[in-house]
């Protein structure tokens, strides 16, 4: 019996109604599938693609894990094969620089606004104006300071970074040492800080755990200089003005504190973890830190955590300079999966993730809605300080013009090096200021 005959037989046994029913069902099914297919494609528009993400490794393991897990979960939900690499923030510049030169940047990454500003000039990141606006509109808007500090329009023709957190320095102090010495409140001026530090300065505890080496932490000295009225450059942001009477006043303060032996030994060669280690090992009564030390103390040394109080940086004659530094996410122009990267960045800006992340991380909020997150309810002094920093801290570079030249000069540690010339090499103030002035001007002249 042939197949054709079998078919004929079957058709012969079907009624017209059955045939019509099958035809209608088939049409409906076909229509349904064709209508459903685009929906599926829309649900998972990046299905089957790959995405590499470089996250900024911070001093809180749980926060790092949450970021990795969230990105991987987003990938699984969207059919995207994700690879998350956590980069030590002290090495971001080197890794990103090498990746730019070798054309191996990931699809998206975390970085500081300083690096974003420097690299956006070279067209390394794509414009994400639309994403910036939509995320801001959806979550109560961006904090004004964040909005201002992350604007790359002048150098890149649009915004290239999506803020996700803000960091800055708080003053950490040992209440168990200071209160018995008669100091129950935080120092409000740099002179008061020296006074309090001197009162508790006795080996093995040094009063002022401030870095003076060639590391980012030592740029607190730039804030001190600015609070004394000193400036890196004039209001045009082009002519360096380090050499001034205000800078001399700052150097006088520094030399005075140094000569009193308030700085811990080795602070002129500390690496990025130097002040953390000095405080955690009980060798410093005061440090200026992002709060990561507090988080570490909470788990490693609860007693020290309980004995630590947090406050804003002290003021100089010109007031307080406490710069807030936004952290941003960006999408390299070399990414082959830019739309997926945008979708991921939008996903990472949802309160469900951000609120949980803030509770574990050491960042202040960037979106106004995030102020309602549990982390910022005031119970935790570190997060309260970070929220205060975002709301009341100074913009990056303030009172200087925050431009690429300023970021470059800061990365060259111009002010910490000037401080080293005075306290380590014994140079007089004029000579140290002259060198800093000429080196900074050489940098500014490049822009």
């Amino acid at each position: 019996m042939s197949a054709e005959y079998k078919t004929d037989l079957k058709w012969k046994n079907w009624s017209r109604r059955q045939v019509l029913g099958v035809a209608v069902s088939a049409m409906a099914l076909t229509t349904g599938i064709s209508a459903f297919s685009p929906a599926m494609a829309q649900d998972k528009p990046f299905d089957g693609s790959k995405l590499t993400y470089w996250g900024g490794l911070i001093f809180a393991d749980e926060a790092n894990k949450l970021l990795v897990d969230t990105i991987n979960q987003w990938g699984a939900d969207n059919g995207v094969e994700t690879e998350v690499v956590m980069i030590n923030q002290n090495e971001t510049i080197q890794k990103v620089s090498a990746a730019v030169e070798s054309n191996t940047l990931p699809d998206a990454l975390d970085l500081s606004v300083d690096l974003l500003l420097l690299m956006s000039r070279q067209g390394i990141f794509i414009n994400i104006d639309d994403l910036y606006k939509s995320v801001g509109d959806a979550h109560g808007g961006w904090y004004d300071a964040i909005d201002l500090a992350t604007d790359t329009t002048d150098v890149a023709g649009g915004r290239t970074g999506l803020p996700f957190g803000a960091s800055g320095n708080l003053l950490l102090r040992r209440t168990d040492l200071l209160e018995p010495a008669g100091f129950s409140s935080a120092p409000t001026t740099w002179d008061e800080l020296v006074e309090q530090a001197e009162a508790v300065n006795a080996m093995p505890v040094s009063g002022l755990g401030l870095a003076l080496s060639n590391v980012g932490d030592a740029n607190v000295q730039l804030s001190v200089l600015q609070s004394y009225g000193g400036r890196m450059a004039d209001d045009t942001g082009t002519k360096v003005t380090i050499k001034s009477e205000e800078t001399r006043a700052y150097l006088t303060w520094l030399k005075n504190a140094w000569d009193k032996g308030l700085f811990p030994p080795g602070n002129a060669t500390w690496d990025g973890a130097g002040d953390n280690q000095a405080y955690l090992s009980g060798q410093a009564a005061f440090i200026a830190n992002t709060g990561s030390v507090g988080i570490a103390a909470k788990s490693q040394d609860p007693e020290l955590y309980d004995d630590t109080a947090y406050s804003a940086l002290p003021a100089g004659p010109m007031g307080t300079v406490s710069p807030m530094t936004p952290q941003v996410r960006a999408i390299p122009a070399t990414s082959t999966n830019q739309e997926a990267a945008k979708a991921l960045l939008e996903y990472l800006s949802q309160p469900e993730f951000l609120d949980a992340y803030y509770a574990l991380a050491i960042y202040g909020p960037v979106l106004k809605d995030s102020a309602n997150a549990e982390a910022f309810n005031g119970e935790d002094p570190i997060h309260a300080g970070l929220l205060n920093l975002v709301e009341n801290g100074t913009a990056p570079g303030y009172p200087d013009v925050y431009n690429a030249a300023y970021a470059d000069a800061s990365s060259n540690f111009i002010v910490p090096k000037m401080a080293q010339r005075v306290v380590i090499d014994g140079w007089d103030f004029d000579r140290a200021m002259d060198e800093a002035q000429s080196q900074a001007q050489a940098i500014y002249d490049k822009y």
Partner: protein, 306 residues
């Protein structure tokens, strides 16, 4: 057979492509991949780095040719001058001490002493240890509070005060040099020991018969026997030390101030600020010094061979 060969007309080009030339061409074909590899992996980066040193290249841009501007800028800075002198100091002082220690220990364990094998193994350990571990260990030893060196000095009463070994200009460079010597002497030791073992014993016996004392035997027999090795070791050690990054970076990061700043660390700082033109200029500025070292050592070796 020979008649057949004589009657066959020679094809054009056969005279040129004789057996000798065919072997030559085959040899060239064999070495071509290696030459291309060397050109790609060594010559190209080397020449490209020199080119970059003459540009204002920053990360993410190709940069423009700016002639000697990077070098002019570098020579104006006090840090660059410090890097020159610090690099020379570290190379010369560590080489001298590594030679003395390496030679002394090699002469010692070349004798028939008990536990010689174990001693040889132990002496190589510092060199076998990863540099990262070695210099971080030294950093811990140098810690002002709780560091091993200060504990020894204070507990034994030799010096009652804490010394900030890495944080003071006066002690930072000697501290870096000491750690570098400790890490580097085993290379000298093992090289000189190998040379010592290749000196025929007959020469020593002949020298003894001639009435040579210990110093004369060393100067007339031992030294000529190890001279070549010492020259090569000096050359290699100088180049390695001048290019070394980790010993300074892990101990002092070039500080305090620029007390221990050396070329590789200065170049690294240039990279950190993304101005790779300047960073390359720092590296290129080292070339003449290293080239002189190579030329001097090579000529000494050549002279010795002649």
């Amino acid at each position: 057979m020979s008649e057949v060969q004589e009657t066959q007309p020679q094809r054009p080009g056969m005279t040129w492509l004789n057996a000798h030339r065919r072997i030559q061409i085959f040899a060239y074909i064999l070495v071509t991949p290696v030459v291309l590899l060397i050109l790609g992996l060594v010559a190209y980066p080397f020449l490209f780095a020199i080119y970059v040193a003459f540009t204002d290249r920053v990360i993410g841009s190709v940069g423009n040719w700016i002639g000697f501007a990077n070098f002019q800028y570098l020579f104006q800075t006090a840090t660059f001058s410090s890097a020159i002198w610090n690099t020379i100091t570290i190379v010369v002082v560590t080489d001298v001490f590594k030679l003395l220690i390496g030679l002394g220990l090699a002469l010692l364990v070349n004798q028939n002493i008990p536990g010689r094998g174990l001693l040889r193994s132990l002496l190589i350990l510092p060199w076998a240890m990863p540099a990262f571990v070695a210099f971080l260990t030294w950093r811990v030893l140098y810690q002002p509070i709780g560091g091993g060196l200060n504990l020894i000095l204070t507990q034994t009463g030799i010096y009652p005060h804490v010394i900030d070994w890495l944080g003071q200009r006066q002690t930072a460079m000697p501290s870096v040099i000491l750690a570098s010597i400790w890490r580097g002497f085993p290379f000298w030791f093992i090289s000189i020991l190998a040379a010592l073992q290749s000196i025929p014993k007959d020469l020593y016996e002949a020298a003894r018969v001639d009435g040579a004392n210990a110093w004369e035997r060393f100067w007339m027999v031992t030294f000529p026997g190890i001279k070549q090795v010492v020259i090569i070791t000096t050359l290699l050690s100088s180049i390695w030390t001048a290019n070394a990054f980790e010993h300074v970076w892990l101990l002092t990061q070039g500080g305090p101030s620029d007390a221990t700043m050396v070329f590789p660390v200065l170049a690294y700082f240039g990279m950190q600020t993304q101005r790779i033109g300047e960073a390359a200029a720092v590296s290129v500025a080292m070339l003449p010094v290293l080239a002189i070292l190579v030329i001097v050592a090579t000529s000494l070796m050549q002279k010795d061979e002649d």
